[in-house]
Amino acid sequence: MRKLGSIIVLAAVVVALGAVFYFSTGTHGQKGNFAVSSSMQPLAAAPPVNPVVNDCNITLPPDAPAIVTPAIARSGLPCAVAFDGTHQVNLDTLQQAFDFNSWLSFVALSISSNGTAPGWEGWQDLSSLMLPDGATPPPFGTSVPPPAICTGGPAGAPVLQMFSKTTVTPTLSVAGQPLNTGPLIDQNGNYVRYQILVNKPMYDYIVTNGLYSKAGQQRFTGTVQFPEGAIVSGTQGTVGAIVAKAAWKVLGPGDNPATYETVTGYVYTPATAGVPASCATHQLGLVGLHIVHKTANEPQWNWATFEHVDNVPNITPAGGHFNFYKPGCAAAACPVNAPPPQPWNPSVQPFPNDFHSQIVRTTKYPAEAVRSAALWNPQFQAALQGSVLANYELITTQWPTDPTSKTDPNGAPFPLFAANSTMETYVQGNVPQASSSCMSCHGNATGASGKESDFSFVLEKAQ
């Protein structure tokens, strides 16, 4: 058995009440290298863009038999992953800690504290940060007016124009799709729309350092290091840079809006060559969400991904309703995991010739990740009964097992592969360098000037 004494735990934060020792996860699994985490640095070291807050959630994963109560599920946003050092340290226990952290983060960021939109939906959209000609972005939280063609929606309605999670501006050409993969079409023939939003610490870091423009990035002589989440003492800590990537579907026939996190938004498609702009107001349902948090002990960030439970089957089902799969449809008519035929014109909906995507989940996860998802998903879903959040499931959390590795700058990610069926639809699988791995892909991220950009592609969108 591998007990705590033989493994590395970087930071120990003593919680006075109950005299329980909490350990933040550090260079997981390395031996003989007890070190002081940056989470133990004095408060003055915290960058001004993410000041110390007093309400970090330091709730530990419940002991077996694990019971996630409604109070635990709603206990707030963790500043960093909490891990009980009295447990064995292995891939099972650590995956469970990261997945528990992911669920807490998902709930904290998705439940409104004051009856308004959930936290992450109020963050700043990438399109209001990376403005034409590198214009100075507005202060965080500023509602950006929609395009003139978009009218009639509620005040502050989001403008959803991306039809790939990696593009800001739609394009009708294959070359415009960075992964050359294609859009996702739901059962009603509508394009799935995407948002990329950043929280205030990340937004302010970008603005403060002038990284919102190509010219500003050229002037920036430092190394891009987004703010980190960390526990400082007790429940005091910092919230790091967080990115939310959301996938939304237009709710229509066959969909039950009561089961979705919904938003009324503008589905907007800018004009392109020969195709005029279009904009329509729709009710949309959340079908996929990445929550990516940079923390002091995981400088490669933590990568959580959630989906609506009705999205896709793992195997060919006999029946049922799925957002992106039609049971019983023959392969000739419904080719599995195939991009839609071109041309792709999101102004034309439903997709011509009754096409809809036929997607199944193909990424195989290691046993530890499967066990952890099976442990937490039912518990959180039960604890969230009465909330639409009970209709979502954690697919997995990818995290660095060796954040300070001298040979792998990605920190030896685990699981090796991770994919959300709504966002990495056509790059699912388990083939090295070809299949979706959050950290392996984002490790190559650079800004518009070609300099490394700390695991975020956000900066390359600067104009």
């Binding site: 997981h28 699994g29 031996k31 292995n90 891939l91 001298k406 699981p415 083939v431 090295p432």
Partner: protein
């Protein structure tokens, strides 16, 4: 290592493999083994190597307290050609991510004009072959390193394979 009185077959396999390959055991099988290579290779060799492989493990278990060089000589030079060939197959598996059937290795030793047959175990095994790291390189078509890494010196061998 296992605290049980019965040796953990995986620990035994890793310890034997460290002797055969010269690569540190905690590199072959890190505490947090994200690829699960050691377990996968143990299962693969058990299936493909049959009694020759289990015999090799038993031979190691009987002599595990001996110095590594003594164990290596015992396996490769003093226990017969069949034992040497299965040990070579295990070594090649770690280095090349491929399985060379011991019979093919024996045939190759008799007639080196015909290459020994092999099968690449998996795409993951290909990228995890230790030949790349011993050469301070990376597999063709796969690298975790950052753009422009070729502008600097290779990673230190000790960092890649362990030891000093």
């Amino acid at each position: 290592m296992s605290n049980s009185s019965t040796p953990d077959p995986l620990d035994q396999f890793v310890a034997l493999s460290a002797i055969l390959t010269g690569i540190a055991a905690d590199k072959l099988h890190p505490q947090l083994d994200t690829h699960g290579t050691a377990a996968a290779y143990l299962a693969y060799a058990t299936q493909q190597g049959g009694s020759a492989f289990t015999g090799l493990l038993a031979l190691y278990a009987q002599n595990s307290t001996q110095p590594p060089d003594t164990i290596a000589k015992l396996i490769l030079q003093q226990s017969g050609q069949a034992t040497a060939n299965i040990a070579q197959a295990v070594t090649l598996m770690w280095y090349l991510g491929a399985w060379y059937p011991p019979a093919g290795l024996a045939a190759y030793q008799a007639d080196q004009s015909v290459p020994a047959p092999f099968v690449v175990i998996s795409s993951d095994a290909y990228t995890q072959g230790w030949a790349w790291r011993v050469g301070q390189a990376h597999p063709m078509g796969y690298s975790d390193l950052r753009f422009g890494y070729w502008n600097g010196p290779p990673q230190a061998l000790a960092d890649l394979v362990g030891g000093s």
